[in-house]
């Protein structure tokens, strides 16, 4: 059965080439970030030096260090990525992968790879894309649009707080954003490994960036392969910005949103409805 399947998929790929006049590439899409073009062959050499220890020779996240690491290294053969600017279920853009390699992943063993040149990083991305057939011949995914940020005033924060209650973010992230909601202890990723929801009081950075735009993108596209779903179908852009502004108040930093919030609480704390099961629909 297996050789037969392989034979047929080869035939199908060949048929698609004929059908589309030979424009469909049989290898992974070309990799471009800004005006830098990646080459998988060069990326291969870099991968064998810098990445293979955790991500493994086959790119499946089973490198020799993997057993000591939690969260586990990314399995590139699955073609599923957390940090994307594209809708849930889609591949990330080259820029997304480039940003992830550059940024690293806070609270994991993946460091920022700023020591590598931009050309090195783009070459690595070109190589990473050879591990999953999902990159082959697929159309380049497009990023979601992020409209300009709305004013981060107290009205926006309060609306965002209502959204946090209405969309039941607290069921995983907890009423105060401490990552201790009623479902938190049951969460597993798509490989059945336990996973914790983000604790907003733990710091200022998120796995997928630290700007308000990054925060907007994270909950709108969701983190594929984890329990964090996409909310783009449920939030208008202005509602999403409101939620961003509220989430900033949960963090232990003096962001403009947090200062506005602290001022508000000094005089209005008693007026707030609780967040959580007793909060009802606000």
């Amino acid at each position: 059965m297996r050789p037969q399947t392989r034979w047929i998929s080869l035939v199908s790929a060949w048929g698609a080439v004929l059908f589309l006049g030979g424009v469909t590439p049989l290898v992974a899409q070309a990799t471009h970030v800004a005006n830098v073009t990646g080459q998988a062959a060069r990326g291969d050499k870099l991968y064998q030096r810098y990445c293979v220890g955790c991500h493994g020779p086959d790119g499946d996240g089973n490198g020799e260090n993997a057993m000591w690491i939690d969260p586990k290294p990314r399995d590139f053969t699955a073609g599923v990525f957390k940090c994307r600017s594209t809708p849930s279920g889609n591949l990330p853009t080259d820029q997304d992968l480039y940003d992830a390699v550059t940024r690293g992943f806070v609270t994991t063993n993946m460091p920022p790879w700023v020591a590598l040149t931009p050309q090195n990083r783009v070459d690595l991305i070109a190589y990473i894309k050879t591990f999953s057939p999902r990159w082959t011949g697929a159309a380049a995914p497009t990023a979601i649009t992020i409209p300009p940020e709305t004013p981060a005033n107290i009205e926006s924060i309060l609306r965002g707080r209502q959204t946090f209650q209405r969309l039941e973010c607290w069921k995983c992230h907890g009423p105060a954003g401490h990552g201790d909601g009623p479902s938190a202890s049951t969460l597993t990723d798509s490989k059945d490994n336990p996973i914790r929801p983000y604790n907003f009081s733990s710091g200022t950075r998120f796995k997928c960036g630290d700007t308000n735009q990054d925060l907007y993108r994270i909950f709108m596209t969701g983190l594929d392969g984890t329990p964090m779903p996409s909310f783009i179908d449920n939030l208008q852009p202005n509602e999403a910005w409101d939620l961003v502004h509220f989430l900033r108040t949960l963090q232990p930093v003096k962001s403009p949103e947090a200062l506005t919030w602290q001022n508000y609480l000094q005089t209005h704390r008693g007026e707030l409805k609780p967040i959580g099961p007793e909060g009802g629909s606000q």
Partner: protein, 242 residues
């Protein structure tokens, strides 16, 4: 014969992926036959556990009686329900029906527990509850997505291109488990509460019939259907307690 022509029809062959393995029955008008049978088990299947929905009162209040997990649903005697029985080889390729399959979230349960879909067939997912669900089908062959669906949201409309048994879960309500059975054939049935199934409308010929149960895996049988006849295929799964 078609091996030499195949490259030219490559794009079309995609649709025929799963069915190209054996010679297709001749396409002359013939009275269609049926394959029917019963799915049973031997041994002791694990007991289904009661679901504790106390953390979600709006769902708990919808159930007057105890809700049990649906991983293994047994019927009278040793019969097994909710088993997907389908033609896995020997079938003519069938086009995807345009009628959408409906998948409901109600009382924090998936209804049906196993949804049968043709590859490419529209799928509509509804939230009938007063709580948010997130629909997270854990597909591996098809792209994996995870979408939130608060109360009152419109249906999520989607489809799957490739055959696959996809576990579905809601991360917010960890007891919610279901399956999308995406197949490349329309000749498929779900065994009933009495373990019985029937695959009708089959032209005479040799078929491979596969039965799939989410815990016990798959079993296959070769079955020959005569003109207008009814062939029997009974499946027996070995049940282990855990």
């Amino acid at each position: 014969m078609n091996r030499h022509l195949a490259p030219a029809f490559g794009a079309l062959a995609l649709a025929a992926l799963a069915t190209a393995a054996t010679d297709a029955p001749a396409t002359r008008p013939a009275a269609a036959g049926t394959i029917s049978g019963t799915v049973t088990y031997t041994g002791t299947p694990p007991k289904m556990r009661p679901v504790d929905m106390s953390k979600e009162p709006t769902c708990a209040s919808q159930h007057a009686t105890e809700v049990l997990t649906e991983t293994i649903v047994t019927g009278p005697g040793t019969t097994l329900a909710n088993v997907v029985v389908y033609i896995s080889a020997g079938d003519q390729p069938t086009p995807a029906p345009t009628e959408p399959v409906r998948y409901d979230q109600k009382g924090c349960q998936y209804i049906p527990h196993v949804a049968i879909l043709h590859a490419g067939q529209p799928l509509e997912i509804y939230n009938n509850d007063k709580t948010s669900h997130n629909i997270h089908p854990l597909s591996k062959v098809n792209p994996e997505w995870n979408k939130s669906q608060p109360p009152g949201s419109p249906a999520i409309k989607t489809s799957y291109d490739k055959p696959e048994f996809i576990p579905v879960k809601c991360n917010i309500h960890p007891w919610m488990h279901g399956y999308f059975a995406v197949l490349s054939t329309s000749h498929v049935a779900l065994s009933g509460a009495n373990g019985k199934f029937s695959l009708a409308g089959l032209p005479p010929g040799k078929y491979t019939v596969t039965a799939w149960q989410e815990r016990f895996g798959t079993q296959t049988q070769e079955v020959t259907v005569s003109e207008g006849g009814t062939a029997t295929a009974n499946f027996v799964f070995k049940a282990l307690p855990y």
